[in-house]
């Protein structure tokens, strides 16, 4: 698999909270910080909105990895959403790992509105992590028209 990985460009779906991480990703843009283009973003108002089953669904729909990003603890615009998210994804990530889904594919981060640079680091980390485990070839859907 190793030689296959060298030109493997993973496809990563990210869920970003509007107030911190999405704003942080915007700041990376405003600061013209360059990073890999593998991550595609879905904006939600709060990381607490992200149902862990979205992760399952994304992996099933063809994503090689999933990222959920919210405000740092204590900074949630809605006070508690990121705390709920933290619990839910801790469990979901452990569980998927138990099924054989490499933990590199399910990542979570805290990125604040001022952390454009951190956003880049997170993306690089996630992309290289997913690259290291190769394409998701476990339970994605084969036929693609909904």
């Amino acid at each position: 698999m190793a030689e296959k990985n060298s030109d493997f460009e993973p496809n990563i779906v990210a869920f970003l909270c509007n107030w911190c991480s999405y704003a942080g990703a915007d700041l990376a843009g405003t600061s013209r910080i360059q990073y890999p283009s593998n991550v595609r973003v879905i904006r939600v108002m709060c990381s607490g909105r992200v149902n862990p089953l979205f992760v399952m669904n994304a992996l099933q729909q063809g994503a090689d990895g999933v990222l959920i990003s919210g405000c740092h603890p204590g900074d949630c615009h809605y006070m508690q959403g990121n705390y709920y998210a933290r619990r839910r994804f801790m469990l979901m990530r452990n569980f998927l790992e138990y099924l054989g889904v490499e933990p590199e594919r399910v990542r979570m981060s805290w990125v604040s509105a001022s952390e454009g640079a951190k956003w880049k680091e997170v993306i690089e980390e996630v992309v290289s992590g997913v690259k290291s485990v190769g394409p998701m070839n476990k339970f994605q859907r084969r036929q693609l028209n909904w």
Binding site: N11, V13, N18, Y22, A23, A25, D26, A28, G29, T30, R32, I33, Q34, Y35, S37, R40, V41, I42, R43, V44, M45, C46, G48, R49, V50, N51, P52, F54, N57, A58, Q60, Q61, G62, A63, G74, H77, Y78, M79, Q80, G81, Y84, A85, R88, L144, W146
Partner: protein, 677 residues
């Protein structure tokens, strides 16, 4: 209005900001192949007037009912394009933005990769747009009145500001008088202003202000509703004294059979009062109150031949039949200013508070140095619990004056063993103040302060601390481990941590600089208003830096120590902040409520209440409905309280609660569009 989707896609060049990297034509070409897209265009600046006109024209021409703008971040121009839709006659929530600038063209240099990503982003926006629904843009009217709970300095200041601005204020105070803790203080640090001199005029103003309805000896019993429209129910407890008739002459108190036998709360129990009393001479309102528990007539049904107070009252104000009164009113905003309790020194048994008469709390010492206190401002050794029976002709020995006074700082603060990790922020300075007053009143008195650190951070604090040290007050760095008695002296056992020498310090009087703690009855308010608490158990503000006077619930604000320890200037500043924050919605008369709220499908809801438990705004409750003749519980969202975070939607196992604009049915297609390679 939802109808079959007809989508227009508008790809912005943003000059060369987008078009310099992303092949805009290719994206348009791609977009036009997507389902339900009837028109796809590109333009140099979509946010410009001609750009927006493209959209409104197309709405007209093609009957568009959904619009996708692929341009900058929605955090930038979503409001702009929502307005465009509105002016084109479409519901503003039929807009979806595709961020191909901040999160694409600005961060990727490779035109091919960037164009590919832009297509995916646009596709995800289109598939979401197909599922968008019209949302109501709602406003609620705001009642131009404010409820303020607690009339310490914070509540008083907020009330005066709001009333001066012309709004109605209902000021509810639990105790018989306004003033709170500040009324108990003698001088205030660091300026040594006389507390009463600066406070009493405000107390009087609050009572006389035409816009303020003051309710003392009263308690809020019920609050329902939300910002703009809170319904409030207050119980005005009976004082058994007709407020309109009482002239405040005090003839009653003098004759009360219980006079001098009940510890006066206001004097921290050092002074005594009767069953009918005024907490202190400057109390506002200057009306007497009968304390039901201690009044012989009210508790035992009999007070001598007949109640003496009633006989003495020329105004005929005393009426034992008076009942509690319930008043109801409506307000638009609420300020909570319920203050604090001082730390219960009994929780540190090593300091023997409550064991030795002359171990005092700082608040007791405040009463002792206070000119209007029980000793008329004389610092004397206390003999607690001894009834001073004045036998005829017996010489009463004058009380002794302490020759040495020792303060211990940080009692109940910065102390994990009692569960209070925080610094109370005022003790260092009030200790310095009280030490200064002690020196001032008894010049030959030896004054010693045991401290951990001296935190003199405020304006004029360091200077004041310096001054007090120069006056001869001795500071010893060390946390005493024990207080015991040797002969008629108290001994403070400690270690001087600067010289690492253990020491036993003899003294006449020990003053414990107790910290500020959340009120023991805070639960009442928490339950009424569903406030949250921070880990120190003070009320939690909405954001520690940017929303320090707000709470999680719109229209409810915090002022004073109830939010966390602070001194008077900070309490006043926060009160003014809370007042102005409360006045914003009242002045505008209307508030917008979130449109992207949650909504429950009652047919599938299983009534488990998971959503109720996660909602940070207590916007959801379980209500009973009839399902096929059976009573079942289902969740119901109060849209005025919902802030649209969507936490409930992720918690619901049956998918019964969904956040508008972020429904599963809208997000799953996005996932699919982005997942596909």
């Amino acid at each position: 209005m939802n109808g079959k989707p007809k989508i227009g896609v508008y790809v912005c060049h943003c000059g060369t900001n987008i078009a310099g990297v992303v092949n805009v034509e290719e994206v348009v070409q791609f977009a036009s192949t997507l389902p339900d897209v009837v028109v796809a265009r590109n333009y140099s600046y979509m946010c410009s007037d001609p750009g927006q006109a493209l959209i409104t024209d197309d709405i007209e021409k093609f009957g568009l009912n959904r619009v996708v703008v692929a341009s900058c971040s929605p955090r930038m121009h979503e409001p702009t394009f929502r307005k465009t839709l509105l002016s084109g006659g479409l519901n503003p929530y039929f807009l979806e933005m595709a961020n191909i600038r901040e999160q694409c063209s600005w961060v990727h240099e490779d035109p091919i990769a960037a164009t590919e990503k832009a297509k995916r982003i646009v596709e995800a926006a289109v598939v979401k747009a197909r599922r968008l629904e019209a949302l109501d843009v709602k406003e609620v009217d705001v009642e131009p009145a404010c409820l303020i709970i607690g009339a310490g300095i914070a509540g008083i200041q907020a009330a005066l500001d709001i009333a001066d601005a012309g709004f109605k204020v209902y000021l509810v105070e639990k105790s018989p008088t306004v003033g709170g803790h500040m009324a108990q203080l003698d001088k205030t640090f660091p300026t040594l202003d006389c507390s009463a001199c600066i406070l009493t005029p405000k107390m009087v103003d609050v009572a006389n202000h035409p816009n303020i309805e003051l309710m003392t000896y009263s308690q809020v019993e019920e609050i329902s509703g939300y910002i703009g429209n809170f319904e409030v129910k207050v119980r005005k407890k009976s004082r058994f004294v007709d407020m309109d008739k009482c002239t405040g002459c005090g003839a009653c108190a003098e004759v009360c059979r219980m006079a001098g036998r009940i510890p006066n709360e206001f004097d921290e129990g050092i002074g005594m009062r009767g069953a009918i009393y005024l907490p202190f001479p400057q109390a506002v309102p200057a009306k007497y109150t009968i304390d039901k528990e201690n009044c012989l007539f009210l508790s035992k049904g009999k007070c001598g031949e007949s109640p003496k107070c009633k006989e003495a009252c020329q105004a005929e104000a005393i009426n034992f039949d008076l009942q509690d009164e319930i008043v109801e009113f409506k307000v638009g905003t609420i300020i909570v200013a319920t203050g604090y309790d001082v730390f219960d020194a009994r929780k540190k048994p090593e300091y023997a508070y409550g064991v030795y008469d002359n171990v005092l709390t700082a608040l007791e010492f405040e009463r002792l140095v206070n000119a209007s206190g029980p000793t008329g401002g004389k610092i004397v050794m206390l003999e607690r619990g001894k009834k001073k029976k004045k036998k005829e002709g017996e010489e009463v020995e004058p009380p002794k004056v302490p020759k040495s006074i020792t303060f211990i700082q940080c009692v109940g603060s910065r102390d994990k063993s009692v569960g209070n990790e925080y610094c109370s922020r005022v003790c260092c300075m009030y200790t310095a103040k009280l030490a200064h007053l002690a020196k001032d009143k008894i010049p030959d008195c030896e004054v010693t302060i045991f401290y951990m650190d001296v935190r003199a951070f405020g304006k004029g604090f360091e200077e004041f601390y310096d001054r007090v040290r120069r006056e001869g007050v001795r500071y010893i760095r060390g946390n005493p481990s024990e207080i015991f008695k040797r002969g008629d002296k108290l001994v403070v056992k400690a270690e001087d941590t600067l010289t690492a020498t253990p020491l036993e310090h003899e003294t006449d009087m020990v003053v414990l600089s107790v910290g500020l703690v959340p009120r023991s009855d805070n639960r009442e308010i928490i339950d009424l208003l569903k406030l949250s608490q921070s880990s120190d158990l003070f009320y939690l503000e909405a954001h520690p830096k940017l929303r320090p006077v707000d709470t999680a619930s719109d229209g409810i604000f915090l002022a004073g120590v109830c939010q966390g320890p602070k001194d008077i200037p900070d309490a006043v500043a926060q009160a003014k902040g809370a007042a102005s924050a409360a006045m914003i919605p009242m002045a505008s008369g209307k508030v917008k409520v979130e449109a992207q709220t949650s909504v429950v499908n009652e047919a599938t809801c299983r009534g488990c209440g998971f959503c109720v438990a996660v909602c940070p705004y207590t916007a959801i409750e379980l209500v009973e409905v009839n399902r096929n003749g059976w009573p079942v519980k289902v969740a119901r969202v109060n849209e005025a309280l919902c802030k649209g975070c969507g936490a409930c939607a992720a918690a619901c196992l049956s998918g019964s609660i969904q956040q508008r604009s972020f429904k599963d049915i809208q997000i799953l297609p996005q996932i699919q569009a982005l997942g596909v390679k």
